[in-house]
Symmetry: C2
Subunit: 314 residues, 2 copies
């Protein structure tokens, strides 16, 4: 298919074309750059919602119910799920299908798990590119959900328009450590499984932590209680998301600062990947890396000398 026909079908929202486009950015092939150059100017219309939180907090159920809520209101909804476990288990594709079946296999809901971590890294870059693709393809809401909670995942969720942090009642002591870091990320907090014991205590603890935070934009993040499995609190959650989106006007200083920080992060991620690609593309580099890794494993060379050797030879 010629490039222009491909992007035309993409901008019309054709599901198979979208899936192929995301595979392109996931693989990081040359065509991906050309595609993204066409996609980027068409972005900025969708509301991008990032969802993170501890495993076991019921993020997937919550995201599914929120997507269903938006769909029933007439929105087109895309879900990108960052799941580092899927390359091992092959479970992601099956999981996507099961979720698709629940959400309704149709034009207005698209779900995709991202997991590939190739030689070049680039999961963060591929994820934000996939979000841009759904945005350009006319989706009204794009939800980015993380399975893990690590530093890459936090960066990706921070790059959303609205970041949601999901907790559950009574998570024990470690939650204090998590909360401390996550406080700065959440624009909206959800206490899911709110029919469980300890919800009040978790809410009080969270309120206390939030009262200590000083956000540069003076926003006071709302706390929403949900029971996703029973579809409870989803409307409240959508209202909280909207209230944050409505709090900022596009030419707010805080919004401009945030957008620029996201752009800078995205630029550096891509720059790093491109630099590595250029080195790896040179003839013989892969063999040399293999040889040097072998010598490192035997402790006959240290990693720093190995990198110097690699870069001197090139």
């Amino acid at each position: 298919m010629p490039e222009t026909e491909f992007t035309e079908k993409l901008f019309e929202g054709d599901i198979r074309t979208i899936a192929r486009a995301i595979t392109k950015v996931e693989n990081g092939t040359k065509g991906a750059a050309e595609l993204m150059k066409a996609v980027f100017p068409k972005t900025g219309r969708a509301t991008v919602i990032g969802v993170t939180g501890a495993p076991g907090a019921g993020k997937s159920s919550l995201v599914d119910k929120l997507a269903l809520y938006y769909k029933n209101k007439g929105d087109r909804v895309g879900i990108i799920c960052i799941d580092p476990s899927s390359p091992f288990s092959g479970g992601a594709i099956l999981g996507d299908r099961i979720r698709m079946a629940t959400l309704g296999l149709e034009k207005n809901v698209f779900i995709r798990s991202m997991a590939t971590r190739g030689n070049l890294g680039g999961l963060s870059r591929a994820t934000v590119d996939a979000v841009s693709i759904l945005d350009a393809a006319g989706f009204d809401k794009v939800i980015v959900e993380t399975v893990g909670v690590g530093q890459d995942e936090v960066e990706i969720v921070k790059a959303a328009d609205v970041s949601i942090v999901v907790l559950v009642p009574g998570m024990g002591d470690d939650i204090q450590a998590i909360k401390a870091g996550i406080m700065e990320i959440g624009d909206v907090f959800v206490i899911n499984k709110a029919d469980r014991e300890g919800v009040l205590r978790t809410q009080k603890e969270l309120e206390a932590l939030l009262s200590l935070a000083h956000r540069p934009d003076m926003w006071n993040p709302p706390i929403v209680r949900t029971v996703a499995t029973e579809n409870k609190g989803i409307e409240d959650l959508s209202a909280a998301i909207e209230s944050y989106a409505g709090y900022h006007t596009a030419d707010d200083e805080a919004v401009r600062t945030r957008k620029k920080a996201i752009a800078r992060w995205r630029l550096l991620e891509l720059l790093q990947e491109e630099l590595l690609r250029r080195v790896l593309e040179k003839n013989g580099t892969n063999d040399e890396i293999d040889r040097l890794a072998g010598r490192m494993a035997e402790k006959s060379v240290d990693p720093y000398t190995a990198v110097e050797t690699l870069l001197t030879d090139k």
Copy 2:
């Protein structure tokens, strides 16, 4: 202090020198490379134990009790804690001090949180470098503990000699997703908080999942039940760790393959960081990145064109 005096004190296990050395690799200064070249040949003696698992699983308590167990047996124990939340909260340093006080402020236990994520990324690289420093400084056991569970964290834990995955009874549905990916990582599994309801069910589920896995080394990962807060099961855990270490002899094909894969990952991480450093060091690059990020935020340039511009100008 001259370089040789510094490394001498490091190899003698001087705590302040160790702390300064880790700060060096964390900051990624030029001196770090020279230091690591001296450190690397002295490594390979310590047993490196990676610990990961969901937040709320009680990893910190478990690690503290295991460290105490080793200390009481006469081992020197180092703990590296990867905590992406600490730069926000400043809580890591305080947390380290509290944990140090519990473990005993002395020469035989060292604890350090790693959190810095600078312009160059490099948390994974800094963490494995810190492990090498403790190894070279004569620590018998080095425990790497992750607060988050993301793709970087998984890579870091995989680079240990023995990887431990900590679960708790009754974590709900999401745990299935986590387990699927984590199965391939764990050499030893721990069900902590094993005095809670549902421990048998979690054990059965885990056994079923593990029976499906085909490890290239034919190892059958043991499952250990612990109640870390009551110091229960810690000896069993240390026995399980030892049994895995004893399962492999140094010239096992599986061990060689694993060591080479770790070396390759470590080489690529460092290469990527060094490539980015070289670009950022050039005069005017930071200003240009700033300018391009501003234009990206206004959507007047796409990230791919921005990276091309950056690399053409250099």
